[in-house]
Symmetry: D2
Subunit: 320 residues, 4 copies
């Protein structure tokens, strides 16, 4: 292992910069050279990169986004693009590639590894937390706190006006974000794709709350559960309350990473460089039972991570 | 002047609690009793109130929302409701009424004053800043900063993905919020109801920016300018960029008030109590040329406050 | 188990209110009555309490501090006071007592348990994270982020003025806070009580950094490492840099809890009520390998939790 | 006017970068070239600068600190240094110099103007707000809010522990910051250099509060009022309360500027470039009665700005 590449792909997540910095400095401390490919897989296909040094990654640990940029690149899977990327790795003598991203990024890395001898290691960074093989992804804690801070503000106006709010957070297919946000803001109802909830059930909960004297309420909904604007209308018709929808949106993707997102970045980077130096194959690093560990990349990608539905029960109990 | 009432009406704004606290304590220091009517005009119609004392308003200066609650109450204008409210004022011997709210609230106060001898004084509190007779309303500075903080996060992901973002802020009829937010986040384009801007002009600006190497951009749009989702689609079609919409939403109404919103609350409250004690008629207090002043309520309400279009020119120059 | 008491003792930590709320609601859902003793052990000695209901603990999940108040009460250990507290438990038929606090609080609980049949369960809440038997305490994540946010601001002025800053964070005896803060702000040097570091070593690191072009630096120091004002002076004398000291101080104890501190509060409370209902003795609940677990209180208190010194090595590597 | 210089001198303030960006872009829009001198006056003495272009100042509006760096440079006044600086201005054909800083910076500019034909214009940027000729300086609003946010956290623990806190904010000679912070956090006592307050008076206020049931209290003190650590001890001896000191410190100098600090930066920059283009002499731009205006620099520097002591009376009334 002499030279490693770093790439951030897929949706960005706060802490990606901290991970780029950590990989660069740790690799450098072990005598490795580091290059950063730009704009996700596109940089590999087009051979666009910058050299990364301990100094060039200074002052970025606290910045949201990714200095390497990222692009969603579904056409990367095409034979032709994978070939070009493999050539880029050969051309630049890249012995190991650190892929910072989510589930789709790691599937891309495996596709590429079938064309290339370069060893791949994945660092999970995603606001969605939906990466199998790690308890938590870089950026998840930040996205949760961003949504919580925004909902804490919404609660103020919900109480003043005695309104019900549906607050939509990110999560097209998975409810990790909605679940963690919902339980920590004290949401009256949490809607996630993994657990069906009928209009009737929601109405019943809100009416029961009204009987108990709770005139306002926060419903945290993952974007993937359906048409939340329609739900707001229906709830308004079925209850005596004013119901409003607020969408947290893209702010969840940015902002300065929390301490925890930065810490994971440092710990994952250390393991990633270690795994590369051992030259044993493709791995995903992650947090398992509160320890940093590595798992075969193929195995990690083969399964879907499950939300802890017990948290939903707990949330419901806490919202009584 | 022996007893005064306080009421918060219309949309809530951060700093309303600071104003309730300030009115109560200043009035008390001048030997007055204070009662707080609940749920806006509804509390006057139904004679629902709580006694306010220096101790009962302790610990609220930093809280968003309003402890007195507020309701939008368009039917207050009805003869019957105004009569009931006037009776409530007589019944509780309310000599002066402090109305904390926006334009509509003050029109309501004038309607009520036609049925009642109670003297009215308005304290402008609105996230929209659209109250004639004051340079700034309580809550405006907070709402601007909330939106700015959210957009600072969105900018991170805009840059990572080299996308254009339309960020919609509140303002159905007026562009104060969008203008202040837009200029302070360094928006490439600001869209406000007061100044038409064609699709062609926006596209031209974005293309010109792309030529200069600016691949990302923030467009801050007041909700009142039209269908921003449609605009996002159209811009995507007419430029080579990915365009996304993010709506800041109700968080702008809540949250802990900024220092400035709290300071205005204190200064306006002092003037409001002073004006009531002078017993000279109905007034609006406000900031005029950086000094606290009072204006006849009728005159204040008669005109619409204008946005400073020069700021838009400045914003455009700053975004080059 | 019919009635349980809740008490917060020792130094306060963000998330204590979330824990009070969670214990109350979960206990209530299991048919238990809940009383909250006020002002820490003092409330047990003087029999001062309030009844806690699902409604009375509404709206506090996001608030710093503790609605039950807390007092450091070293004289609680006196025979006479323990007797009075035990009588209070009998008088109010308290079958189980939830003690929310740190190491000292749990030692107090064990002292009390020697005089009383009431079952004790500890919920670890402390900004210092120094409770054996749990990977993390409620409030630690919040305190870390508060310090990180403040240091991110200090870094701005450090860079502008090309100065070295020593930033002192809490931690009289333990370095958990300093270590986590230091690694996540990218501190050039981290000083903790557990690992000696000579003036010469620090000077050497700073000089080495200067040679590499790093003219500014952040030194994060636990308050327990010694006289940081003196250190600032000495460093200024031994380097060519201006060195300043900034003390984060009591803000670390307050503020709205982060999502993580709130989540731990909910999970710990659930386990605490479960453990009480099993009536098997005195326990501490906590996070062990990312799962909520219970440990005999006596055993937990018998040992000191150790900081992970490997994190310090990692931090040093990241700061190159 | 063909080429202008920009320099930031003295203590840094949030919004200086926004001002650098605004000056550069506005000047460029008027056809001027812009160079930025580095490290305050030192850059003029040593002829160290960078060319500033609309692109090179992109992405900095939201950053604390100053990309041009700044150094306190008391020896700038020496004949020899002023001569060198004047030569630098000649050498680079600098027709106008924008000096972004505080009172001392503008005195330096006047000293330099005696050796140079280059026209000087001052833009007031200082967290202390102590610049005569402007109602408000860039950075003041940010520093106030930083302190307020920190004190809002301290209040949580003050209430939990029923303690009195002295919170020291910046302000060696002037009380602008302490006064604005104190009134907006609802401080029980505000100590500023401009108004003596005896130990006896403070003790009396705290005792009176205790009688009214206020067991906690916040005392906001400017650093210039004396030894606040000693005051904490004395207050503890004279009251029955625990008294703690917390020093907000250097965080007040950094952080992302508030909307208001950024807005002032834009408005002041516009006026500064306009004034330079009129070529009528040395001026200070500022906010006067809520309008941007220019004042002769000599006149501005000749007087000291006074705090509004009426605000202190208001603060005391609000704290009852």
């Amino acid at each position: 292992m002499k030279t490693i590449g770093v790439v951030t792909t897929g949706g960005d997540a706060p802490g990606m910069n901290a991970a780029i910095r950590a990989v660069t400095r740790i690799a450098h401390a072990r005598g490795l050279e580091v290059v950063g490919f730009e704009r996700g897989w596109e940089g590999l296909v087009t051979n666009t990169y910058q050299k990364l040094t301990p100094r060039s990654v200074g002052g970025i640990v606290q910045l949201g986004g990714t200095i390497l940029r990222t692009v969603r690149c579904p056409e990367f899977k095409k034979e032709e693009n994978l070939q070009k990327a493999a050539q880029t790795l050969v051309k630049n003598k890249i012995d190991g590639l650190v892929v910072i991203g989510g589930d789709g990024s790691f599937r891309g890395a495996l596709d590429l590894s079938r064309k290339s001898k370069t060893q791949m290691v994945g660092i999970p960074a995603s606001i969605d937390n939906d990466v199998n093989g790690t308890d938590e992804t870089i950026g998840f804690d930040t996205a949760v706190n961003t949504a919580v801070n925004i909902i804490d503000k919404i609660r103020d106006t919900a109480i003043s006006h005695e309104r019900i709010f549906i607050v939509e957070v990110m999560g097209k297919e998975r409810g990790f974000l909605a679940l963690n946000v919902g339980i920590t803001v004290g949401a009256e109802v949490i809607l996630i794709p993994e657990q069906q909830c009928t209009l009737g059930q929601i109405v019943e909960t809100l009416k029961e709350n009204a009987r108990k004297g709770k005139k306002t309420g926060i419903i945290v909904a993952a974007e993937g559960v359906g048409d939340n604007a329609k739900l707001a209308q229906e709830l308004q018709e079925h209850t005596n309350s004013e119901v409003r929808l607020s969408i947290v949106g893209y702010a969840q993707r940015g902002g300065s990473p929390t301490a925890r997102s930065r810490l994971l970045a440092g710990m994952f980077a250390e393991k990633a460089v270690e795994v590369l130096c051992e030259e044993k194959g493709n791995f995903l690093v992650g947090l398992q039972n509160n320890s940093v560990a590595a798992m075969e990349l193929e195995k990690a990608v083969a399964r879907k991570k499950q939300v802890d539905l017990h948290l939903l029960e707990l949330a419901n109990m806490l919202a009584t």
